[in-house]
């Protein structure tokens, strides 16, 4: 298909599929690239739910405005406010749309959509579909995408890996270079705009709750090609995951939302079976320290509390684990959580309906990512808004969620917007779909107005980038060095997890910086165990490893330079939030010459809600 304008979407999760549907709907053909069949994208793993104010919440005094306020407060005010305003005000419409698409949301007795509690809010405003909401939402969008595929407006490139953006002489994005992971064929693809919707970078940390494809390599490649990163240091560690040999498996916040309680034995090193420990010898530390929110404190707080009680020796049997207990809940509630309880049972052999689950924090979500801009617009308030004048995002403006590289957009988790310093539970699904739908129109408008068509660009431009990527692969395959890429990756994960997750301090991070330098040198001296030119998974992994190290450096630099504590970024050497000078976005650009990140600080504009101390203990 060569009709232009056309758009490339890289990534088939919620953000990518929502964008694809929105753009195709406006008659613009889309080439959809994904490492996996899109129905298997990582969004499928989201469990808990999706936030939106609805009539029931509204009549209890909740509003879109409050949803916005909770998002800003939860994100420790690092978020830009107009996009958050827009997202939260769109949330009810998005739920309606998903409902129309057939998502089986849980229902009330009367047949309306049911709601559950979630961290960071005292109102029920989280819509859900069992405990596998992400799966149902992704499938609904996958189905709509298939419909456009059937109409010939979407071309699916599954098992294709994004390698590099094609930038023209003006630095404008005009396509991508990609590789088929089966035949290893490499090709240049023309497009008038490219949407990156490639998700998070958990694999940088070795074990995380993310899928094995969530390496952050695509984002890192854009960064190496000139796209800035925003707040890369903001990595959310989920408080409750099942530690595993190959990965950490998520245990959704909905377990706490539905009444699950977190506790450890009161006596250090107590190794009795949890069911043998009487109530008075259990320490419900979240409920004790945060009487108002209890087990529903935001994730960064729950994470730090669980981490620190274990550090103090109160963990289960003295180890690094706490109990997440749902055994006391009624059968109906346990049924609502069935999808996640089954996972626990399958992977540990214990039935959480009768035995408390053993959990520990694990790397979960990247709030930072590709730096993007938007067009703010002054509006008249709607009911619930607390000001006379409010600021949202201008509908359909081509600038919305475009990176600093013209024509290159970033949607969903890979986009640094919306979450600030901590993502509020059940806001991720919303932000991804919102980006896809709302900013999908922006992309369509951009390409329709674009006069400098990709179709008219000289073939030489594409050939140049293709040759460049081919040369990189030849070099990698022909290396005959000493180091095993999997071993380097294991060390990268260990180093990053130890220095850059729940608690950070300068000394340990500088040590990690040195280790990264060493890994970089080792990476230049690796040997691939597969040098073939067919389905070479070894090559795909090893290539991503180089990009992960580059990305890790940006995470680390911003973590070192942000000498304060804010949301998920907690510095033991700077335990307080310091607004002057750190109420700012950390913006990293890649210095190609010296192969290192350059960090600049950018003001966070305040529009509607004033900064206030983030405190959930009262």
């Amino acid at each position: 298909m060569s009709d232009h304008p056309r758009v490339i979407v890289v990534g088939g999760g919620l953000a990518g599929l929502a964008a694809t549907v929105r753009i195709a709907e406006q008659g613009v053909p889309v080439d959809l690239f994904s490492m996996v069949p899109v129905k298997r994208s990582h969004s499928v793993c989201a469990q808990g739910g999706i936030n939106a104010c609805n009539e029931v919440a509204r009549q209890q005094g909740y509003s879109e405005w409050q949803h916005m306020d909770e998002t800003l407060y939860g994100g420790d005010f690092l978020n830009h406010q107009p996009p958050v305003y827009e997202m939260t005000h769109w949330a009810p419409k998005i739920i309606d749309l998903l409902d129309r698409m057939g998502v089986p949301f849980n229902r009330t007795a009367e047949g309306f959509r049911d709601l559950r509690l979630f961290g960071g809010s005292l109102f029920k405003r989280t819509h859900f579909s069992g405990a596998s909401t992400g799966q149902q939402l992704l499938y609904a969008l996958d189905e709509q995408t298939r419909r456009y595929e059937d109409k010939g407006l979407v071309e699916n490139y599954e098992f294709w890996e994004f390698l590099w953006p094609v930038l023209d002489e003006n630095g404008v994005c005009k396509g991508i270079i990609a590789q088929d992971q089966r035949t290893m064929e490499m090709k240049a693809f023309r497009a008038d705009a490219v949407v990156m919707a490639t998700g998070g970078c958990g694999v940088v940390y070795g074990k995380s709750t993310m899928s094995v494809i969530c390496t952050g390599a695509a984002a890192a490649r854009c960064y190496e090609a000139g796209v800035k990163l925003g707040n890369p240091e903001m990595i959310q560690v989920h408080p409750t995951a099942i530690p595993g040999e190959d990965k950490c498996r998520l245990m959704s916040e909905s377990a706490r939302g539905e009444g699950g309680r977190v506790w450890v034995p009161r006596k250090k090193g107590d190794d009795r079976k949890p069911t043998d420990i009487p109530e008075e010898e259990r320490w419900y530390f979240l409920e004790e320290r945060y009487p108002k929110y209890g087990n529903l404190v935001p994730r960064d707080i729950a994470t730090r509390e669980i981490f620190s009680v274990c550090e103090e020796g109160y963990g289960v049997g003295g180890g690094r684990m706490a109990y997440l207990d749902i055994t006391h809940l009624p059968i109906e509630t346990k049924d609502k959580l069935a999808a996640i309880l089954e996972i626990y049972e399958k992977f540990t052999g214990d039935d959480p309906r009768f035995v408390p689950m053993k959990i520990f924090p694990a790397v979960h979500y990247s709030m930072g990512g590709l730096y993007t801009e938007y067009e703010a617009e002054e509006r008249l308030p709607v009911p619930g808004d607390k000001l006379d004048k409010v600021w949202g995002m201008k509908d359909g403006d081509p600038k919305n969620m475009m990176t600093n590289v013209e024509g290159l957009y970033a949607f969903g988790e890979v986009n640094y917007q919306y979450h600030g310093a901590t993502r509020l539970g059940a806001n991720a699904l919303l932000s991804c779909i919102f980006d896809g739908l709302f900013c999908g129109s922006s992309v369509a408008n951009y390409v329709k107005a674009c006069e400098d068509k990709a179709a008219d660009k000289p073939e030489a431009l594409y050939q140049k980038f293709l040759d460049q990527e081919k040369a990189k692969i030849d070099k990698l395959i022909n290396m005959n060095g000493k180091f095993n890429p999997y071993e380097i990756h294991a060390r990268l994960g260990d180093e990053m997890t130890a220095s850059c997750t729940v608690v950070k301090n300068e000394e340990r991070m500088l040590q990690c910086y040195e280790a990264l330098k060493e890994m970089k040198a080792q990476y230049k001296d690796i040997k691939l165990s597969d040098t073939g030119d067919y389905t070479n998974a070894n090559l795909v992994f090893s290539r991503a490893l180089g990009d992960m190290i580059v990305y890790a450096e940006a995470i680390l630099l911003a973590s070192i330079e942000r000498k304060e504590s804010r949301g998920s970024h907690f510095r033991s050497d700077f335990p307080d939030r310091i607004d002057d000078p750190f109420h700012k976005t950390a913006v990293c650009s890649y210095d190609v010459e010296n192969d290192k990140p350059i960090l600049e600080w950018e003001d966070v504009p305040l529009h509607m809600v004033e900064l206030r101390k983030r405190d959930y203990s009262k």
Binding site: Q136, E487, Y534
Partner: protein
Amino acid sequence: MSTKTFKVKVKRQDEAASASYWQTFDVDYTPNMNVISTLQKIAAKPVTADGKDVAPVVWDCGCLEEVCGACTMVINGRACQACSTLVDDLLEEASVIQIEPMSKFPVVRDLWVDRARMFNNLKRIKGWVPTDGTYDLGAGPQETQEEQDLRYAYSRCMTCGCCLEACPQFTKDNDFMGAQIFAQTDYFNSHATGKLLADDRLDVIMGEGGISDCGNSQNCVQVCPKELPLLNAIASVGRQATIYSIKRFFTGKK
């Protein structure tokens, strides 16, 4: 510390067109291992039990939480997800763990198979709700919790292929669609808007490779990792097809 090892026998195939062969690996045992971590260990150091350096084993996987459906393989003779299959359980049944690709789909390489057929069939049955677009047009149809329960059960199908691997009717070279498609047909036909395309779906289901080819062996329901009500789906779709065929007969619709 003495390292305990166990043997893993992997069925390999270099390319789609080439012949398959077996290789055995010794893998270091650590507690709580699953088949994925076993394969990861082999990938990191691909040396066979008799000391030969070989190309690393290739497989397909994603979330490792038994939700994405990518890592289905045949392990000790059973189609299941490699992520949720634990080594301890396998070693209880046999001293050597045997891993092979699913037999009903074309092999891409080693344990990685091409399941595009399943996704293409979803296209054939118009596996979607025909919405009027993504604009703000209000809520979808109301439904009861009972209706949601049934649709939710269907909506958890992760297109993994276990039901088809176990099905005696489904073969590499016929065009039988199998339980996965019947369940999805019932899923969409049971939604108030989705059912607007019910006749189109039933036309497909009553055509070649459709419901009449189902031998009712009931193997599918026994292997479905998400316990989808597949027998219910087959019965329901069969019933819908019968009613539709009578309707078609009397209205003269072709």
